[in-house]
């Protein structure tokens, strides 16, 4: 498995590939939305405008399937940003990868700083080799290009952001209903309800991370098949064709699921339980 390029900077462990891919994702989404909303026309929308309007209507549909559209309108742009960002992120890792390989610690530097993850790995391998007495060339691959959502930190970051927003809105806008909800239907359900809240945020982020990460792992495994000669190449290409196609599907579904769950949680937090 490839390592992430992590450097230390002012005591922070910065994953450069995540930073790079976040920037790329944001740029792609922003440029897409920005270009699509140039030359807006009321009567004669262009292709890109039609596309972005379709996205808007799609997210509107997601919101109105969960809550009153009047309540949900402020979250429309959040939903659109979420679904576009996650979708683009999921797709970015699919078409290609950028991997650099390092054989010694001296080479593993970027911006004048050592890539911590690589140097650690090299140290570990060297220690293993001296222990076993073998002498093979040490090779550590660093993946620079991947889906940002294939990083647990990013996925959980999004999930935690939603979690915080949902509970903040629940407490401020729906105070009575929000706290009452924890002791529904009886007081002794409180621990279960608390666990539910934390399992929600965990599954919300981990589902996205797991799907995308697993997809990328399988892609790199399929790429390793090429080591087995011609048959391996054929199997690799065939497997990649199938798996890349499926990954597009998985990536779209995960973007959709993440967004709709956001609105489900929102509607649960904003829902007043007066009628119960």
């Amino acid at each position: 498995m490839h390592k992430s390029p992590i450097i230390e900077w002012h005591g922070l462990n910065i994953d450069l590939s995540v930073v790079l891919m976040l920037v790329v994702s944001c740029l792609v989404v922003f440029l897409l939305a920005f270009i699509a909303t140039r030359n807006l026309s009321v009567e004669n929308p262009g292709k890109l405008q039609n596309f972005i309007e379709w996205v808007v209507d799609f997210v509107k549909g997601l919101i109105s399937s969960n809550m009153d559209m009047k309540k949900g309108k402020p979250f429309l742009s959040l939903g659109i940003t979420l679904i576009m960002f996650i979708f683009v992120s999921n797709m970015l890792g699919l078409p290609f990868g950028v991997v650099t390989e390092y054989h010694d610690k001296e080479a593993a530097h970027i911006f004048g700083k050592p890539i911590v993850s690589v140097t650690e790995q090299i140290d570990k391998l060297q220690a293993e080799q001296t222990a076993s007495g073998e002498h093979e060339e040490i090779e550590v691959g660093v993946a620079w290009w991947k889906s940002p959502t294939a990083d647990a930190g990013v996925s959980m970051g999004l999930a935690i952001m939603i979690f915080v927003m949902v509970h903040f809105l629940g407490i401020t806008r729906n105070t009575k209903g929000y706290f009452k909800h924890y002791v529904q239907p009886y007081v002794f359900f409180l621990p279960i309800n608390l666990i539910e809240q934390f399992s929600k945020v965990l599954t919300h982020g981990m589902r996205l991370y797991g799907n995308i990460f697993a997809g990328e792992v399988l892609i790199s495994v399929l790429l390793k098949l090429t080591a087995f000669g011609v048959g391996g190449w054929i199997a690799s290409v065939a497997g990649l064709v199938v798996w890349q196609g499926f990954s597009i599907f998985v990536g779209s579904i995960q973007a959709f699921v993440f967004t709709i769950l956001t609105f489900v949680y929102l509607s649960q937090a904003l829902e007043s339980h007066e009628e119960h």
Binding site: V29, F30, A33, G153, I160
Partner: protein
Amino acid sequence: MEFSWESLVFALIAFLILYLLLNKYAFGPLFSVMEKRRELVLQQVEEAKQTREQANVYVEEQKQALQQARKDAYDIIEQSKQTSSKQAAQIIELAKEEAVRLKDEAVRDIENEKNKAVEQLRSEVGVVSVKIASKLIEKEVKDDSVQEELVDQYLKEVGGRS
């Protein structure tokens, strides 16, 4: 699985920046345009409704006008039929009167002419007969013996009686 809270924070920052940028540069104009389109569609639907109602009213009016026109045309035809038959009758009447008048005149003229002719003839017959008579008498008188005898006889008879 590598989990670093730094990535989490970066993801949050990146997402927030993206959200704010999109909100400012993309969604604002987009939403306003979609809202405008919605209003436009509503307005056009409203207009279409009104136009249809107007059209219905017009059609109704046209129907009534057509009906009226048909009735008028029928009336006019009826009227003209009546006047034409009346006129025809009048013309025939006039013609008859004229004919009668002409005939009477002609009859009167003929009568006059005949009377005149008869008058003239009568006077001429008188003259002619006088002339004939005088010629005859002249001839009888010239034929001496017979005439003398006849005159004598008359004279005798007149003398004999007296």
